[in-house]
Amino acid sequence: MNINDFIRNFADIFDDTPAEEFVPELPFKDLEEWSSLMALSLMSMVEDEYNVFLDRNDIENSCTVEDLFHTIQSK
């Protein structure tokens, strides 16, 4: 699992936010498009791609895309 692939997969679940905005330091919850439905898409994508179940605390405790990546790696 590498961070560039993860960023690409993460960016893919967004419809309106340009892919180039997705960098490791991005505070993703500040994105206008972020919502609880996006959180569901994130959980679904992570389970699909990495066979890891993210829970709400994992998402709440992650500030940046990189934090999410490390959380997934550690599970």
């Binding site: 609880s36 959180a39 569901l40 959980m43 679904s44 179940f53 993210l54 709400r56 998402i59």
Partner: protein, 349 residues
């Protein structure tokens, strides 16, 4: 382990009833922007749902479905041995609703009547109870009535719950049927009790003027402690973890192949979730019918409502897999044949 198998017991008939009043998701403009509404409709999949009139309870919707079922199938009410009512929006705290329905439906005083209280897994659970009774030597017919009026317990100022819940009542007649073997797999996890909850109004937190008042909750939504709360992410996470696993488990334990299943009837929670299951289990999309676009999440009524609204008039041998999951946390699946089941057209009341 609650894995149950039955033989020569099956569903003889089904009927369902929804109220005529339509609540459109596009009218949620007081809760969210038009763009958010569009996205919610697209992801959650609910365009509209039905709300019961103020004087109509879940038991009334079930009563209407039951009278239709009895009429359409020429059933003698006195031939019904057991009546089970499952709801979390029953008529009274005391008494149970089933005896009230026994009297209204003209069933004999020799009928065993009782309520079961479970959420969205409830139909599958209660159906297993109905099958168990119908397997008993002197029991020929069990009438299972499952209905909800969640519109009564949902704050229409709660962005999480207001877009979801609709009302419906259903009737399922179970009896001795030559339809092979049926299987049920039942599960529970009380560690998740807080994920879907009405915190007040029971004995743990009795109703008082404070917990009847709608106010801003920690999550920013406006509701009272006497109205439904749901941690959507926790429930989604739970369902993702358990539902595909439970379906694989029942297929394995029953020895039935996924290819032998004609229809997978999922609890209609939200489209996003069902799409996830369909993809995860590699189910051909057309085999998992939806009715939540028109009726929303009707809690325990959603599985039988989907059968009635989507399978009425559909030919075939109709081997079905049913899956319910929700408050408790509680989840259950069943494999059974609807080959002998006569489905009445969907009613409005």
């Amino acid at each position: 382990m609650a894995f149950l198998a039955f033989e020569n017991v099956g569903i003889s008939a089904m009927a369902a009833c929804v109220p005529p009043k339509v609540s459109y998701s596009r009218d949620l403009t007081g809760l969210m922007s038009e763009t958010e509404i569009e996205k919610t409709i697209e992801s959650v999949g609910i365009r509209e749902k039905r709300f019961a009139a103020e004087d109509v309870c879940a038991s009334d919707l079930c009563y209407r479905a039951a009278t239709q079922l009895i009429h359409d199938n020429g059933i003698d009410p006195e031939s019904i041995d057991v009546l089970i009512f499952l709801s979390q929006t029953s008529d009274y705290r005391i008494p149970a609703t089933a005896p009230i329905l026994q009297q209204r439906l003209g069933l004999a005083q020799t009928t065993a009547c009782f309520d079961i209280n479970l959420g969205c897994s409830g139909f599958v659970y209660a159906l297993s109870t109905a099958f168990a009774y119908a397997s008993a030597k002197n029991v020929n017919r069990v009438l299972l009535l499952v209905g909800e009026t969640f519109s009564r317990i949902t704050s229409q100022r709660d962005r999480v719950n207001a877009p979801l819940y609709g009302d419906a009542g259903t009737a399922t007649l179970v009896g001795k049927e030559d339809c092979g073997r049926s299987f049920f797999s039942l599960h529970s996890d009380g560690t998740g009790k807080d994920a879907v909850m009405i915190p007040a109004g029971g004995m743990r937190n009795p109703a008082n003027t404070g917990n009847l008042e709608e106010k801003e909750a920690e999550d920013g939504n406006i509701r009272s402690d006497s109205q439904i709360y749901m941690d959507g992410l926790a429930v989604f996470n739970f369902a993702m973890r358990v539902v595909p696993k439970n379906i694989r488990e029942i297929l394995e334990q029953s020895g039935v192949a996924l290819e032998e299943i004609d229809w997978l009837i999922f609890h209609q929670a939200n489209k996003f979730m069902t799409d996830f299951f369909v993809k995860k289990l590699k189910i051909p999309a057309g085999k998992a019918p939806y009715c939540l676009d028109r009726y929303g999440n009707t809690s325990s009524a959603s599985v039988p409502l989907t059968v009635v609204s989507e399978l009425y008039g559909k030919p075939g041998k109709q081997q079905v897999l049913m899956s319910g999951f929700g408050a408790g946390l509680s989840w259950a699946s069943a494999i059974l044949s609807l080959g002998n089941c006569r489905i009445s057209p969907l009613l409005e009341y």
